[in-house]
């Protein structure tokens, strides 16, 4: 690990093939992200993790680190752009944090706090997205979907089931499930699937567990997203090692 790049003035070591966000996380630097997860192949779609590399904007989850790169991350300019992207995710769906079971454990909400988002800013789209409560153990509330595709990747790559996929195009892009009826109950999905535990927002929810952890004591109530994400990455690495 003799090679390094510069991140907001810090020297960050990296190994060959590592992406910027991987190296930064290992060095204890948080880069906001939603569709990225350390255990999965990067997707590069939410663009929250965009940094400036040698003056050019690029997603840090897909770009491999190279020696001598000069990377900007925690700047007012980038955070303002990330804040706008977060606002976009809020207005394209139907997000009512106070009534959401995932509140306090939701990465979208925590990202909004992290970036100082004070209002949705844009006019809401109010899409019509019916919930799917067909499955005995799991509820799907598509209103909160941010199309990060983590469930798609988890179901395909870990569970080997392909329960989820994206269909449609543009603003009509939507999450679908692998059944002729379109209902989760008609798939081979189980609550033990990796995909059941990966959703960063409140789409995939276990039934009858509501408020098992009271509001105020949930992960992002206790510590900000930046600390929690880094701690999770460390424990994931230790488990893997």
């Amino acid at each position: 690990m003799s090679q390094t790049f510069t991140l907001d003035g810090l020297s960050i070591p990296f190994t060959e093939g590592e992406t910027i966000i991987q190296a930064a996380t290992r060095a204890g630097v948080f880069i906001p992200h939603l569709c990225y997860h350390p255990e999965f192949k990067p997707h590069g779609s939410c663009k929250l993790c965009t940094v400036k590399v040698n003056g050019r904007h690029t997603a840090s989850c897909t770009l491999r680190a190279a020696a001598g790169m000069v990377v900007e991350n925690n700047t007012e300019e980038l955070n303002a752009e990330r804040r706008a992207l977060t606002q976009m995710l809020f207005v394209e769906g139907n997000h009512f944090c106070p009534s959401c079971e995932k509140s306090g454990h939701c990465q979208l909400q925590a990202t909004a706090y992290h970036l100082g988002m004070m209002s949705p800013h844009y006019d809401h789209f109010f899409p019509d997205r019916p919930v799917d409560a067909s499955h005995p153990e799991v509820l799907l509330d598509f209103n909160r979907c941010i199309l990060c595709s983590l469930c798609v990747r988890a179901s395909r790559d870990v569970d080997g089931k392909n329960v989820f996929a994206l269909s449609g195009r543009g603003i009509r892009t939507q999450l679908i499930v692998n059944a002729k009826s379109g209902r989760l109950a008609d798939t081979d999905f189980t609550v033990d699937d990796k995909a059941a535990h990966i959703c960063p927002v409140g789409v995939i929810l276990k039934k009858r567990r509501g408020f098992a952890v009271p509001i105020g004591e949930r992960p992002y109530d206790r510590a900000p997203l930046s600390e929690t994400a880094l701690a999770e990455a460390v424990s994931a690495r230790e488990e893997g090692a």
Binding site: S45, L85, M88, D123, F164, S167, R169, G170, I176
Partner: protein, 631 residues
Amino acid sequence: MMMQANDRQSEAVAGVVDRVVAHYRGDPSCMVQILREIQEARGWIEPAAIDRLQTVLAVPRTKIEGVAGFYSFFHTRPVGRYRLLFSDNITDRMQGSAALLERLCSALWIEPGKVSEDGLVSVDRTSCTGLCDQGPGLLVNLRAIGRLTVERIDRIVELVRDEVPLADWPAEFFVIEDNIRRADILLATPFAPGDALRAAQARVPSDGLAAANLRSWREGLPTGLGGPAAMLDEIKRANLRGRGGAGFMTGLKWEACRNAPLKAGQQRFVVCNADEGEPGTFKDRVLLTTRADLVFEGMTVAAYAIGAQRGFLYLRGEYRYLLDDLNAVLERRRRDGLLGSDIGGIPGADFEIEIHVGAGAYVCGEESALIESLEGKRGTPRNRPPFPVTNGYLDQPTVVNNVETFAAAALIALKGGDWYAAIGTRHSAGTKLLSVAGNCSRPGIYEYPFGVSIRQVLADCGATDPQAVQVSGPSGVCLGDAEFDRCIGFEDIPTAGAFTVFDRSRDMFEVARNYVHFFQHESCGFCTPCRVGTSLLKNLMDKLHQGCGSPYDFGEIEKLNQLLQTMSHCGLGHTACNPVLDTIARFRPAYERRMRQQEFAPAFDLDRALAAARQMTGRDDAGAHFLDQEA
């Protein structure tokens, strides 16, 4: 009885699916073609067809539904037996398409976007169909009809009502003109199929050891710089740059592909990008109609230069009606020994071209999205690097070039790189095809050497009183009359080919709004800034259009532009704001007229919100309207 009918139907579905899947060797990477052919046979992609596909291809249902849901021309719900799609480019609108659409819909008693209750007909709008020089245009079951008039529309109404098979519609409806107004080397060089290949092969000795001619000393080197490498040298010497818009050096691209290592079982591919979706462009259509041999030969030359055995022509779905003619050209070339094995009698010179037809997705013009689509997936642009030259089709080295680039490559093989480099300007060798449309008396295809001025083109095409020219379509640049002395070329105004003229009677705000609607419709939805940003931008432009604009909205548009340019995943998002920013900069009064409010005004309009209630009650009298103070 019911049961029997259902059985018969599922047998019919299974028969079609099995036949199509067998034709594509059960290969799921042909998913887009498989779905297209099933739909052509059945009218739509019905759930029973997806059931059967899932079984015979052994892929998850989500994969099929994900692909079917991505493309505009795939229907997973029943559509009319006659599917009429009006081209909705700004030029079609300028030629009166909106009134014709309304006339057709009211005569057939249907609403745009809906299917008639008897399942006979559906009418909708679609992105530019490439008939701008002979618009307004429409597609009926993906066959193009141009030069729409009130008479033609009324006739179409009768034909649909009488359920006349498409084959029996008046032949003149389907005549699409080439309208070549100015021809230069690409359109006028005499060329017999095989000429370019023979010239490429004749340029070097068969053993690669002694130069047959002394045009290039490198040809004589015994280092293996024989045939193909010499061909590559000619392309490099020609300074040919890609004609799709970005202008990458073709020689460098080919060389990178040729040098890309092959893993076991891999090969190299040549892909011709005929997904000509930029509104206002139609030059590839004309090249494919009039010079298909030149294009296919250019692909074969590329295959020879890089060592590829397979090639694809990716034809946009809007040009589906060209497929049979193009396949006939390929078949003739096979018969003449210009495709297949041992081409030109050279052992091991094997190359085959297949045509893949798209299904209505502009974003597939982006080369990595095009490759995804070729692989039978949703047409989402890939993360890059790696680039297609090393990791393209099925992760193998792939060259993707525009139709016009391959045609030029064939001429370079025929006449040499030096000949080509001498045409045009220093940084832009050769000629450029311009698709000229809009307010001019002679719309059509103009081929000029690079360096021609905007003013010259305007004069040649008979533009009267031009106010603006949109060069290279909405993703390009909008120029006002102070800039008409600027030149077409990579050193000044690069272009993929569209050249759309607007005279002083045109409202440039509405031009920009049409383009913004286009980008919103064509965003693939993969990345947040483009998916949501183009929708927000569309809403803001519609807000201005509805008279609720304020300087605040101006500021918002500028901020969205910044975000789209910096954060988007691909070129679609990067350029989606260009028409708005260009027109604000040059035609600000068109926007200021819409600034009814100096302070912020909400987009919500009570009277507009009552429209649904008016429709439901069948009322449209004054009492059914909310009157504001102005009225």
